[in-house]
Symmetry: C2
Subunit: 357 residues, 2 copies
DNA sequence: CTGAAAGCGCTTACAG
DNA sequence: CTGAAAGCGCTTACAG
């Protein structure tokens, strides 16, 4: 790549003059100016990005760090895309990296991602996926601002007091329970592995709402070694076999809801009359479910945008501490919920349906 | 952030000595060495990333450029994740950026993404999404290696001779047609907007296979203003209303297949006997479809890995021109295809089913 | 074994 | 109006 020296040589001026012309700073004779511009164009000269990073002491780059997440989920992709949109508009680039680390390592034993092991590589970090206290501790020791999607942080709630963007899935689950109760349901189950932090939060919202209503929580499926569709399928079997007899199910996410939906359909349950079903996530890819799935939208696009814009605020005003912010979710009513049938369909009545062609 | 000067001052040595100790190059007295190490640790010193980028003339950064794609699809996320995995292993970082540009702008009128407008910001580019010739022309003028997922390139095939990774969706569509023919189908429809480059390629594979078999191509849905589920739904209506009477449908992607599946189910078609259905993409989120969707896997993870590794080869050996590489797809047989019923169910027989509860 | 100095590409006071 | 020089943070021959 040509450097400013090449341009200076070709235009037969000093590098200082080239710099002045190209940056429109200071005086320049119009002929000199023309020579410089032509030389720069001829050589297809582009200023070196790394110089300005070194000079400005700012890389104009943000790191999106997806922590401890083996697969890929749409939620993260949408957060990433939303961050990128905001940051690009503000002249920042976005680096995507994954980072897996043990939750129980001492902070000193953690091997930081390459971009964080150096200084000056990034101006700030957005934390998505699952993160643990040991890593946050390490981050806190550096003059590097970060923001975090708080819902899947595994540590104590106190660590979420600052820098976090949260969505109110706890409140949304309570709302879902209230909605199902208004429809007349009393036997409402929750399906999700509560050992995982985000399902744990959701279960908590559900449990509290049930308790306040004087209803008995029903839940299955801690620490099963699968997820998504298969998880939903196994949960269906368990809920029906164990005689728990729910008339409505709140699934920990849409994928589990889809698994429940598939298995219930196979067993000839007619939704929503034989069973009401609510998902969480409002994922468009599950629009294929019929009747359409009632689900809780968490508005990831806005969360991603806010993660980015809050980070930029912190970068620009490092002194001001930013309290965490919690955003509401919304129950999107579709067609998968209805009042419970009377009498409640049981295994026998359902089995009878299988006889008819 | 502390610099090497701060460390040198604290250890009471020159910056050269600090550099030698920290990089383990050259001799150093063990006491001096200890003083330097302690000073660096005390100050939590990290070398400045931008200096080494400037010095090495390499940013160790790759740009993943998602072109002209308004939404977010899993395919791109998987490609991105696969690239990141390979690149991280090789000491490179990955920047994610989107880039929308008009296909008919002159190359000179294009505003390049920030990272490409500067020199030295990235060492190479992976092109995903949709790209056009004008932009490639601009890229070709620079000493910046790139690789491209060729299937959604909108320009002439000749421009795909180098630097491209392709998946053989043309061959896969021909294979799908052959498979359906073996099952006994003759009226096989294709559903997808062939005006889009990737659907155009897939249609071409389908059309050729049909022609060679002496069968008449059946297709609907050019340039409808929607996509995915809704597209599949409208296509179903059109295929059935217009008396095209297919017994099998090859969908341009899994989402369209899901839309067809949903609408056919609503109309009381029993899959696979009333209609066989094949998708493209083999997306796990459509695992909820029952009977399970037969689909063509394009192995995005391998494509993403190869996009990254080929790019690294090009960076390391800039002189050698790399021919494009095409990778096979695979038809994953599940339960959505069967021999056509005899007699073929028509609108009347299907309508009769709706009468029975 | 250690320090002074040059240099990566560029900008910006400072002379002339 | 233009050039020589210092400096961003660091490494690496080159002296001593």
């Amino acid at each position: 790549m040509p450097t400013i020296r090449d341009v200076a040589a070709r235009a037969q001026v000093s590098v200082a003059t080239v710099s002045r012309v190209l940056n429109d700073s200071g005086y320049a004779d119009s002929q000199t100016r023309a020579r410089v511009l032509r030389a720069a164009a001829d050589l297809n000269y582009q200023p070196n990005a790394n110089w300005s990073r070194l000079k400005r002491q700012s890389s104009q780059t943000i790191l999106f760090l997806l922590g401890n997440w083996p697969g890929i989920v749409m939620m993260h992709m949408r957060l990433l895309a939303a961050c990128e949109r905001i940051l690009r508009g503000q002249g920042y680039d976005l680096v995507f990296a994954r980072y897996d680390y043990a939750r129980d390592s001492a902070p000193g034993d953690l091997t930081l991602p390459r971009m964080l092991a150096q200084s000056g590589a990034v101006d700030g970090v957005v934390l998505a996926g699952v993160h643990h206290e040991n890593f946050l501790h390490l981050l806190d020791q550096r003059p590097l601002p970060y923001t975090m999607l708080g819902n899947s942080f595994s540590g104590p709630a106190a660590a979420q007091a600052h820098n976090c963007i949260l969505y109110d899935d706890i409140g949304a689950c309570a709302e879902a329970v209230a909605y199902l109760r208004r429809l007349g349901h009393r036997r409402i189950a929750f399906v999700g592995n509560v050992a995982l932090p985000w399902f744990g939060r959701r279960y908590e919202g559900y449990r509290q709402a049930m308790q306040e209503a004087g209803l008995e929580p029903i839940s299955v499926g801690d620490n099963w070694p699968m997820s998504g569709l298969d998880y939903g399928q196994l949960a269906t079997a368990q809920l029906l076999r164990d005689g728990l007899a729910p008339t409505a199910i709140l699934a920990g996410n849409d994928e589990i809801a889809a698994g429940l939906w598939r298995e219930l359909s196979r067993r000839r349950y007619h939704l929503p009359h034989d069973m009401s079903l609510i998902g969480i996530g409002n994922r468009p890819e599950f629009g294929v479910l019929d009747p359409a799935l009632t689900s809780i939208s968490v508005f990831e696009d806005q969360l991603g945008e806010r993660l980015a814009s809050l980070l930029l605020e912190r970068i620009r005003h490092p002194e001001s501490a930013h309290a965490s912010e919690t955003y509401p979710c919304k129950l999107i009513e579709r067609a998968s919920c209805a009042p419970p049938s009377t009498p409640m369909p049981n295994a026998l009545t359902i089995a009878a349906r299988k006889k008819t062609p």
